[in-house]
Amino acid sequence: MSENAEDKAGSIPAQSDGAEAGPAGETSGTATLTKDAAPGEILLKVTGLQKHFPIKKGLFQRQVGAVRAVDGIDFEVRSGETLGVVGESGCGKSTMGRLITRLLEPTAGAIEFEGKDITHLGVSGMRPMRRDVQMIFQDPYSSLNPRHTIGTIVGAPFRLQGVEPEGGVKKEVQRLLSVVGLNPEHYNRYPHEFSGGQRQRIGIARALALKPKLVVADEPVSALDVSIQAQVVNLMDDLQEELGLTYVIIAHDLSVVRHVSDRIAVMYLGKIVELADRESLYKAPMHPYTKALMSAVPIPDPARKNAKSERILLKGDVPSPISPPSGCRFHTRCWKATEICRTTEPALLELRPGQRVACHHPENFEDQAPQDTVLLTAAKEAAELVADEVLAESAETSAAVAAELAEEAAAEEPASEEPASEETASEEVAASEETPSEEAASAETAEASAPESGSQESTDK
């Protein structure tokens, strides 16, 4: 693999030479110096990725079930972009991050990095890969070894990869420290001598040591204070510009994600429910869950204190990923859910250019299953929590979009959305290869679909 990358490195001129002209710019010599994929090309491609954690019980540790942390997701990351991944705790976003960095072994699916299948590479097979894919962890306290000096920690990637930067490891480490805004003279200090924000910078320096192509950051700023958060966000911004990095940033804070991302994936219970450009997602979210998630963010503006009506409150808690609801996983809490949502899983379809949504009744768009109009009882209860204004508005926009589309369709050949959706849906059912258990789960959840999703979770545990 490294040879392959080397070849490419030779053939395509380094995109960010100027910025990398530091002492070690050309030193580590081999694979990882240059960016192979031109900006916009697909760097990482994930198809049908699954991770099920087995639940074992009893004397013989028989598997009695599985936590379906990531349950069939597809996306790609283009070179030079930042993909933000948001979702509530337990939606599988961190597991996804660990899968694409191959810290976890996927249950099914495929991960391609620069066109090479890395899904099942072993430890030694992954080693050359590790230079190109690095990770920044959430907790700057537990991700640095307290008994190693900063120099050792940031220099470890060179040691492990057997790379000898020009001017020696020490010089390169000191350069990295100054790049991330730390004093290079602190080379011999220990992690406990640094504050949280400084430690996060150390983690970033370590991730950048080998000039990776892809950096996966799992909640990089959530452990930091507000004023420090902004410093780290700006630093990551600058580094991306200088080094042409590609980021996958996993976070639960929607405002931070909007600030850093070009495209955003919204996850719910192990699935991507919406994947779209930043602007489209925030201006006109299509999945009801995305809409609810964004309306829940408290706005720092006291004038809006009483504008409670804009907020969509969701009922109960996220159901357990051990037995996720049948059909659309959000149907137990969705105010638009109908029978089809309970029975058929919606496929992630590109409804609008650059905006993929998995929903039968999307917001701000034409209804995908207009024949199905009877709300589930759970949906009626959920709708009580949604202000009438919101409902009316969403009906209006959907109608407007539908009219618009009808006009377009009349002009052109009718674009057949319906059969396509069915195809993909059936494919996905086949892929998940657990149809019987899913049916069983569906029966279960149908009963408990109403407010008890939380209690269901706890009893399952």
Binding site: E88, S227, Q229, A230, D237, L254, R258, L314, S455
Partner: protein, 365 residues
Amino acid sequence: MTELSKTGAAVGEPTSSSPAPSSFLEVRDLKVHFPTDDGLVKSVDGLSFQLEKGKTLGIVGESGSGKSVTSLGIMGLHTAGQYGKRKAQISGEIWLNGTELLSADPDHVRKLRGREMAMIFQDPLSALHPYYTIGAQIVEAYRIHHDVDKKTAKRRAVEMLDRVGIPQPDKRVDSYPHEFSGGMRQRAMIAMSLVNNPELLIADEPTTALDVTVQAQILDLIRDLQKEFGSAVIIITHDLGVVAELADDILVMYGGRCVERGPAEKVFYEPRHPYTWGLLGSMPRLDRDQQERLIPVKGSPPSLINIPSGCAFNPRCPYADVPKDNLTRTVRPELTGVGDKHWAACHMSQEQRERIWTEEIAPKL
């Protein structure tokens, strides 16, 4: 009262030391210091504020600014637990409903705690006892203050669980904390703290451990309950969004002191302290168009053992050199009135700050 710039020891809005507070809660020059091997940690160093019934005060600040210690001090919990080894030093006055708490008999304060004042903690899993059912813990809290039999108390517990939105409260009352999800635990804790209808409720980062959708539910609940019970609420958080949702008044803390205090609208629209500007600038906002760049506060929060001399914010303040004579580094600024019920502690003149805010800061936000 507004244009007063006092130079005395009392920080905060000028109050006479005569014990005649008209407010429901009044804190005067509160200091909480913890002696440690490394030196004296001045967690809270002269804090004053008042709070009326039915109103909400938001205390904002970064970690280590003393906001949680303030709440523990009011509750009389500063000596408990992890601080236990060496005794915390506390001084000042805390008046609750006409009673001064710091000089009162500890037994009397214990009677007030839970009944007159209650607290919601950040992490409900560690604040609830894992060995006892939710019901048992609420029953205990109720029976300490009410002479009733267990049956009545349990009925009351079920009623409270129902009120905070826990489904099937008559069944869930017998569940253990680990059987609840994070949001439900927080609801249970709110039920426990409100079981005695306290007049003062302190919520210390009540939603920090929760997801946004659950946070929205809990904030909604706190707001509704306050309307219903008419309690005074202190909400402590680092999230300016949360205070904007709930608070009538905002107190910004930095390095154990109040740097700005005023009505929420004033603090958000006409802030008069560079640290408040920094907080507003470092926060990405969903309600605005995409900012190009955040404006962070440089440096990191001060150590509470070595609070910088002069203004505690001076090493991080971009305007530290605006006042003459190196004033920011030598003299500690006092809170001075900058508007109606609005105070800030800064050496820059009002005009200077007004100009910087309107010309330099506000357009970039």
